[in-house]
Symmetry: C2
Subunit: 273 residues, 2 copies
């Protein structure tokens, strides 16, 4: 999926919502455990009830790998089930080099058919380049994450007060573009958005940390959007575990609609619709 | 496996060699492709012919995940096949937080029964802590990697000329110990070893980059060893792809013996045996 297709989907659906398919088999409605593949059955129902309201799904690989080879089968089926016009993100936070990065890129982009993969920037450009050889595929670099101890590392400063995460943004501008690279910025990092948007005014940001993790959707959106919307906001647990009864899909839809309606309002306020 | 068990294995086997099981199905001897699980059959033969000469095996997850759910089955079988007294490292370079890190930790330590997992330090302490709750299991943090562009990030300096990788070593000392944490240092980073050993004199280093990647075993060993040996040197391609005939195991054993004999000599020179 390319840049303008993403922007078009956002405007068409009046939503910049991504649902995190962090499917934990111990948290899904009990009746699903009677199926052959409970994880896929859960995801299928989430997708059915939300696919007209979201522009992206983001399975975190940890939840699938924890089930061994069976988990990867659930993931493969889930990816096949997601409609083609919805952006898919492998939340993998990989970061390796050369041959190994090529293997990961093939895995995520060819085997599983993801549109994008999240990457850790610690090994530099080398670990991203193999992914950028794929047409209309994306890397999403960790820039400033929402967890507490990230500041111990990501706020490490040089003699000009430039922070590590800013250095990483600047470094990546040399070898990537807004057509193939997005950045992860946690929803609680609102004070840094000004500095981030100065460095990367045009790239999409993937913003986790709204919902259960407490980030305020309106505040973070108004402070980070650009003329192409420029942000994808991810919500996981607050949506997918909003209910555990046999009719959980209804609650999931209501919760998703709340987010979507709020996003539509924000986009109108920002003059994007 | 705990610290002293690793040291004992090294002294007993007179070897600090780790073989990287980076098994690429396109590179293994062709006759293996007739088996149900060629990747496992290859690994099995490598293990059979080297298990008395090495103290660790390190499968890189990328090679297994690239085969989808079938790849994870090969990995599961491989882990079960490795003798219990050999240290096993999941080269995964993961780095996530909270719930997700817990999932990965369970995956690597409980599902697959690895002894150790490599982690990216970019998200800080939070991403390591869930792994450290497992008894006699290990994290191996990326410190200074061997790839070219790593210096763009890992040599980022503060106003006191402290480099990012040094900052990460120092930061990790607050929440980890030599009993549960090792560090990855590329074999080509020999000029930095003095500085690294000043910060972490007692921790094990995992050193990749010898062999195909060109690092000099003797030089790097003599400059990084401590009284407990303190290093595990990984060789992948130079050993596992040393021949592609039907009798490749013989060549693999000869190559592994060369490394092992050199290591024994170095350990004697260093007074460790």
């Amino acid at each position: 999926m390319n840049f303008s297709e993403i922007v078009n989907q956002i405007k068409k659906k009046k939503s910049y919502l991504c649902i995190g398919l962090d499917t934990d088999i111990s948290k899904i409605p009990k009746y699903l455990l009677d199926f052959d593949d409970p994880v896929f059955e859960f995801n299928k129902r989430i997708i059915d009830t939300t696919k007209d309201l979201v522009i992206a799904y983001k399975p975190n690989l940890a939840f699938y790998e924890s089930q061994g080879s069976k988990g990867l089968q659930s993931l493969e089926k889930t990816l096949k089930y997601i409609p083609n016009d919805i952006f898919t993100i492998a939340d993998a936070k990989r970061g390796d080099i050369g041959n190994t990065s090529k293997m990961y890129a093939k895995t995520f982009f060819n085997t599983f058919k993801f549109d994008a993969v999240t990457l850790s920037p610690y090994m530099g450009k080398d670990s991203s380049m193999p992914y950028l050889e794929f047409d209309e595929k994306w890397i999403i670099l960790l820039a400033l994450t929402s967890n507490k101890s990230s500041s111990d590392i990501q706020y490490f400063k040089d003699s000009n007060n430039k922070k590590l995460y800013e250095h990483i943004l600047i470094d990546s501008l040399d070898w990537s573009s807004k057509e193939n690279t997005m950045y992860v910025v946690g929803a609680n990092r609102i004070d840094e958005l000004n500095s981030i948007r100065k460095i990367i005014p045009d790239n999409f940001l993937l913003i986790p940390g709204v919902g259960t993790q407490g980030g305020d959707l309106k505040n973070i959106s108004l402070n980070s959007m650009n003329d192409n919307c420029g942000i994808i906001v991810n919500v996981s647990r607050d949506i997918i575990y909003s209910d555990t009864s046999d009719s959980f899909e209804n609650y999931v839809r209501i919760k998703t609609l709340e987010y979507k309606d709020q996003m539509e309002e924000i986009m109108i306020e920002k003059g994007l619709l």
